[in-house]
Amino acid sequence: MNSVLGIILQRLGLGLLTLLVVSVLIFASVNALPGDFAEAILGQGATPEAVASIREDLGLNKNPFSRYFSWLGGVLTGDFGTSFAQANMSSFAGSDTGKGGIESVAAQIAPRFKNTLFLAGVAAAIAIPLALTLGILAALYRNSVYDRAVNVTTLSAISSPEFFLAYILILFLAFLNPILPSLSNIYDGMAFSERLQKTLLPALTLTLAVTAQLMRMTRAAIINLLASPYIEMARLKGISPMRVIVRHALPNALAPIINVVALNLAYLITGVVVIEVVFVYPGIGQLFVDSVKIRDIPVVQACCLLFAAAYILLNLIADIMSILSNPRLRHPK
């Protein structure tokens, strides 16, 4: 077991290192902005005094290294800084640039992050069992009519942009047959069933995109597995088809399937951005896009880091799970 533990610790370390590199990348790209933050916040026509005061406030006079470390230190303690948009608003409102009345980035992101997790969770809850079932069936009855039909359908779903799928679902399920709401105005303190109902349409769109991908990967993994000689051996021992699948295929299929699932959950993260915008869903993706448009750097940085962290975490989980399910590593010589 020691070697497995060693490998997992190594992977964890590698994941942390990647995250660190990513944080440097994000920080460095933001520092490649022309001018500096202060000008960016106040825009043209700002008085030099105002610029200087904000500079002082944000610590822009320090060198990039110390700024990076203070930013990183802040991030580690949950402090992502102050949103420019909020700072801007308050300065227009005439109040000073102090912190009073201004929402921090963390406070802005937290509820939206929860919303996004809820959306992704609902999508995953539908997509994963559905895709695994369809994928395994397609692998078992490969080259059948069913397999071909599924192949064409999923390929089309993967190829379509998310907003196309979203609008088609809206068209049929919201406008032509008013079953679900087309806008997802979610707020705190909503009843769960209502929240679920309002989340269902964006979740279904995500499901459509993810299921197709997940199903195809599951199918490929299972077909690969069913071609292995030990499956043939099991069949030649006269074992019932059910037992061949459950006892011989499944233990070995776990690793590839977990891998495929984690990879597709990572894909969900990117997918939410467009879909949240389409459905005006108050999640982190929409906040990210809005902040990109108005160049609200602290929010962009924070969202980007959050997305990347989730992405790296899921890939890490995939990696570790497949190590754990590999008998060669679990039972070393």
């Binding site: 071609a227 030990y230 043939e232 051996m233 099991a234 021992k237 006269g238 019932s240 037992r243 233990p251």
Partner: protein, 550 residues
């Protein structure tokens, strides 16, 4: 034996395979009968459909194949038309299968013993504990080390030869009436092969199990089978008792298979004492990264001679070749060419030095660029080393093609994929000849080829040596090849040279124990060879397996 009732009767079996959406015949009507306790050897070259027939004898076809006609009657049940449940009740219980690669055929997720007991418990033959006890007994009979314990390991924790025997035990788990052995020893080294062959033969005899033994190796089948059946490209050639088949083959094709073993080069005079070797390997050690693979090896190759380097997989014989070519610069030692030191790394050698030593590879498929025409492949070294262009180059290429006995006008514009395995290997030879070298390394050049084709390649290499005065370093694990072509032999094991000397001496005792073991383990055509060998080695006493050493 002939009075016993017929167990399996295959009549006019036809099998088709699907490619490009159409069904093409693979087997055009195979027929044979198998009596209880009888062993039928099925032999043929690669692609002759042996495995397909073997599986079809169990009523099973792989994906993309189907039985299109005929019948497979096992104990009164036609497996071609039987429903799935009936077939399942026979498979594993009364008909069992032993696959070529045990490492791939054991499920990596379960312990060996759990896979062993699966068939008996599922078919209701034994309980789990009965079957486990029986497994240990079988492991004992098959002379596996630690029979009490070995089953509780996972497949990847057990060596290939032991795993192959464990699979034979698994096939025996329900005491079936028939076992299909599909090339069970092909993936093993010769010294391991002996153990597995002996245990398979003994256990089949003990339980009076009928068997179909599929292999491409004539010598192996001669030890195992009562009767032999020869297949060629999906067609049956001939079938008869082992001894009469060996002594008196009837069909041309069978005769040609048997004749292969007869090629023998004339002996050459011993090397003159003061002769300068073409290639001299002196005290060479080498390592992959930090793992040492060669330990202080030395040997010489003299002009016009063939030195065979033999050893089992992992003995370092291919690594030695990589050191000579400079692909793996040695960590210690000297490589001389015509008495001069060569730079150890090939990148530091000049064109003249690179030209003098050429290489022919085992897999002709990967040795020729699939996107280049034969003319380009052979033409490149002609142009690169000799500076010939245009018509001169083409003339030289044609000349080379003639030397390897391929009609130039017909082959010069073909792609490698349009050639057979033997023809590809010939093109590989021509490419090395194009550099007009003094010395050629032949790395297992015949082991991927069918025996008849291999024979042709060996003859060609011998002729070229006589006319061009080439020196060969012949890397091989096949001692029959060594016997037919070598002048000197170098035996390697675990990165060391165990013994070396002229061929005549090497094939006569006394020798280093490993050389003896290696040389004696190569199967011979004599059907009594295995029995005699086991008598000599003193491990034939099956009942007293505990005393047998592994």
């Amino acid at each position: 034996m002939s009075e016993q009732e017929i167990l399996l009767s295959v009549k006019d079996l036809k099998i088709e395979g699907r490619s490009d959406e159409t069904w093409n015949p693979i087997i055009n009507g195979a027929s044979f009968d198998l009596r209880k306790g009888e062993v039928l050897g099925m032999i043929g070259e690669s692609g002759a459909g042996k495995s397909t027939v073997g599986l079809a004898s169990m009523g099973f076809t792989r994906d993309g194949c189907r039985i299109s006609g005929g019948s497979v009657v096992f104990d009164g049940i036609d497996l071609v038309t039987a429903d799935a449940a009936t077939k399942r009740s026979l498979l594993g219980k009364r008909i069992a299968y032993v696959a070529q690669s045990a490492a791939a055929s054991f499920n990596p997720a379960h312990r060996i013993i759990d896979q062993h007991t699966e068939a008996p418990t599922q078919h209701g033959v034994y309980s789990k504990s009965e079957s486990e006890e029986d497994a240990m007994d079988l492991y004992n009979r098959l002379r596996l080390p630690n029979p009490e314990e070995i089953g509780f390991r996972y497949p990847h924790q057990v060596s290939g030869g032991q795993l192959q025997r464990a699979m034979t035990a698994m096939a025996m788990s329900c005491r079936p009436d028939l076992i299909i052995f599909d090339e069970p020893t092909t993936a093993l080294d010769v010294t391991t092969q002996i153990e597995v062959l002996a245990s398979i033969r003994d256990i089949v005899e003990q339980f009076n199990t009928a068997a179909i033994y599929i292999t491409h190796d004539l010598a192996v089948v001669a030890q195992m089978a009562d009767r032999i059946k020869v297949l060629l490209r999906g067609d049956e050639v001939e079938e008869s008792e082992t001894r009469s088949m060996l002594s008196n083959p009837k069909e041309e094709y069978t005769k040609s298979l048997w004749a292969v073993r007869s090629f023998q080069r004339d002996l050459k005079a011993p090397v003159a004492i003061n002769s300068t070797p073409v290639v001299s390997v002196q005290n060479v050690s080498a390592a992959y990264g930090k793992v040492p693979v060669l330990h202080d090896i030395s040997f010489d190759i003299h002009p016009g001679r063939t030195v065979a380097v033999v050893g089992e997989s992992g003995s370092g014989k291919s690594t030695a070749a990589r050191c000579i070519t400079g692909l793996l610069p040695p960590t210690k030692g000297v490589i001389q060419f015509d008495g001069e030191n060569l730079p150890l790394d090939y990148r530091q050698r000049n064109r003249g030095q690179l030209r003098q030593a050429q290489m022919i590879y085992q897999m002709a498929d990967t040795a020729l660029n699939p996107r280049k025409k034969i003319g380009e492949i052979i033409g490149r070294p002609v142009e690169f080393y000799m500076g010939l262009k245009g018509a001169e180059k083409r003339k030289r290429v044609e000349q080379l093609l003639e030397q390897i006995e391929l009609e130039p006008s017909q082959y010069i514009d073909r792609l490698p994929s349009e050639l057979s395995g033997g023809q590809k290997q010939r093109v590989g030879i021509a490419r090395s000849l194009a550099a007009e070298p003094k010395f050629i390394i032949c790395d297992e050049v015949t082991s991927a080829l069918d025996q008849l084709v291999a024979e042709g390649i060996l003859r060609l290499l011998a002729d070229l040596q006589d006319t061009l005065g080439l020196s060969y370093m012949f890397i091989t694990h096949d001692l029959a090849t060594v016997k037919s072509i070598a002048d000197e032999v170098v035996v390697m094991k675990e990165g060391k040279v165990i013994e070396q000397g002229p061929k005549v001496e090497m094939f006569q005792p006394p020798h280093h124990p490993y050389t003896d073991l290696l040389l004696s383990s190569v199967p011979e055509m004599d059907p009594d060879w295995l029995t005699n060998l086991l008598d000599e080695r003193g491990v034939d006493n099956i009942g007293d397996a505990a005393s047998a050493k592994i």
